[in-house]
Amino acid sequence: MAMNYSEAVMDHFTNPRNVGEIENASGCGTVGNAVCGDIMRVYLDIDDDGIIQDAKFKTFGCGAAIATSSMATVLVKGKTVQQALEVTNKAVMEALDGLPPVKVHCSLLAEEAIHAALWDYAEKNGIMIEGLEKPVSDISEHDHGHDIDDEDED
């Protein structure tokens, strides 16, 4: 399966931004599982105004998984919690100049990881974030689009 990653993906894969942990993070979320092969963990440091001051990640996964984690943390930094919810997988993909079709699921995972960290933050603080649903921690139940022929099924 040819990869043909964009330059942006290769850049974020080889020099990932925001790798690491945040001690006593405001929120931390882990999604995916090692059976299906991708696990992402996102740490968020959110200040009292609800602004994301720092974001870090650790990812077990392919090049695209690492690059989307990196890009997702870049995109949410400095944003409000509400704005962070708008960092969808589409937004991550666009910021990376696209992903190969078989890798689209990685961007979904990044979105889920951000949501999981925000959910953790909301729980810890006993608040409700409008538009945020409890993320599934094992996203392997989602359709990864992995082995679907990109267009036709004939």
Binding site: G37, D38, K58, F60, H146
Partner: protein
């Protein structure tokens, strides 16, 4: 950047001698071997000569060797062609769980046609048990197809014993020898092989060129019907340059086989030993004893294969992985699962396959790079973070505790 090519099980760099042998057949000796004029007859002679030279490599008769477009076509033809021609005798086929997809998907296609297939399990080393094999034979078994050597983990099967067990029960025996042809000693007579698939690009020959050996008397339906080429068994204007190149590559491989085998074995064992010694949380996949001389396959815990490959590629190292992500499928390699690896560590596997001109420096540079790559990927792995914090969750550590060999 200098490229260190350690993916010779995937394909090989064609040898200049092979190219030289092929070159005249493109723009000069371009005749169709079926033609009566000299330009055609010379091509026909070149094909005949290549056929007998290749037959000689495996102790076959020239008329038992048929040219194909590669290992996949050979496997498809052998299995579908035999099954369809012999359906009156039975509908049961035996193969193994670690075959190449060219065999497995072919068997799956036959299942849809009403054949029944037994996929024999393998042990932790990837070996098919001869006892299991015998036990699987039924009165309606017509064909067994067991690969000579595995393309991922390099495990070499007990072909002669399996073939003889097949023959005792009147079952025809095919072997996919794509990884072994030109690398290991093969003799179809001594080993009792009835059909054998090989592919030129695995032995420094051209891509798109293969052969199927079919023992005289074994009946096959054609896969490709048409003209009278290959004595009416496989139609198409002969790929003369490819055929000549295949024969040249095989001649060279045969002449150098023992020397290359010896030096690769030394390099291979050096690599395996260094990794076991220097890289923690690693497991050698496949048998160490019964193994292709150029195959090194490891699983590394806490990391996923594609990231490792990409980082190694960034250092000029060309290797491959049994990871899901590189194959376009959600599941990790069926071979690694068949030898009992849990999904979690099957994802983090690496295959390095040495070539005829791989040097000790190449191998050492690759392993140094691998160490750095693994350290980097583990530093960003949430699983490694958890393991370091808790000291728990290492599958390989558990294996080690249970006495599984060749884990670190």
């Amino acid at each position: 950047m200098k490229q260190i090519y350690l993916d010779n099980a995937s394909t090989t760099r064609m040898r200049p001698e092979v190219l030289d042998a092929m070159l005249p057949y493109f723009t000069e000796q371009y005749g169709n071997p079926s033609s009566i004029y000299p330009l055609g007859q010379e091509a026909s002679d070149a094909v005949a000569e290549a056929r007998s030279s290749l037959a000689g490599c495996i102790g076959a008769q020239p008329r038992e060797v048929f040219f194909t477009s590669g290992g996949s076509e050979s496997d498809n033809w052998a299995i579908k062609g035999f099954a369809r021609a012999n359906v009156a005798k039975g509908r049961h086929i035996i193969t193994s769980a670690v075959e190449h997809h060219a065999v497995l998907h072919t068997c799956a296609a036959l299942e849809k046609e009403g054949f029944e297939v037994t996929y024999l399990p393998v042990d932790g080393d990837g070996l098919v048990s001869v006892e299991d094999f015998k036990a699987a034979i039924r009165s309606d078994t017509i064909l067994a197809s067991i690969m000579f050597a595995n393309n991922e983990i390099g495990t070499i099967q007990s072909i002669a014993e399996l073939a003889s067990a097949a023959h005792e029960a009147g079952v025809v025996f095919h072997t996919d020898a794509v990884q072994a042809f030109g690398h290991e000693y093969i003799n179809v007579e001594e080993m009792g092989i009835d059909m054998l698939s090989a592919s030129a690009h695995k032995l420094y020959g051209p891509k798109g060129m293969g052969l199927l050996y079919v023992r005289k008397g074994v009946k096959l339906l054609n896969l490709i019907d048409g003209g009278q080429q290959e004595r009416g068994r496989r139609a198409t204007t002969e790929n003369v340059s490819g055929i000549v190149g295949f024969a040249k590559a095989a001649q060279l491989a045969e002449a150098e086989r023992e020397a290359v085998h010896g030096s690769q074995l030394a390099l291979r064992d050096h690599a395996i030993e260094r990794i076991l010694r220097e890289i923690p949380h690693a497991k050698l996949n496949g048998s160490w004893e019964s193994r292709l001389a150029n195959n090194v396959n490891f699983s590394f815990e806490f990391i996923e294969g594609e990231g490792m490959l990409l980082q190694l590629a960034a250092r000029g190292i060309c290797v491959s992985s049994g990871s899901a992500c590189t194959s376009g499928s959600l599941d990790p390699s069926h071979v690694l699962l068949a030898i009992g690896l849990p999904h979690e560590i099957a994802h983090g596997s690496l295959r390095m396959t040495l070539g005829r001109d791989t040097t000790l420096e190449d191998v050492d540079f690759a392993i140094d790079s691998l160490k750095a790559t693994l350290a980097n990927l583990r530093s960003m792995s949430p699983l490694y973070e958890d393991f370091q914090k808790t000291g728990e969750g290492s599958i390989i550590a558990e294996m080690k505790a249970q006495g599984v060999p060749y884990v670190s």
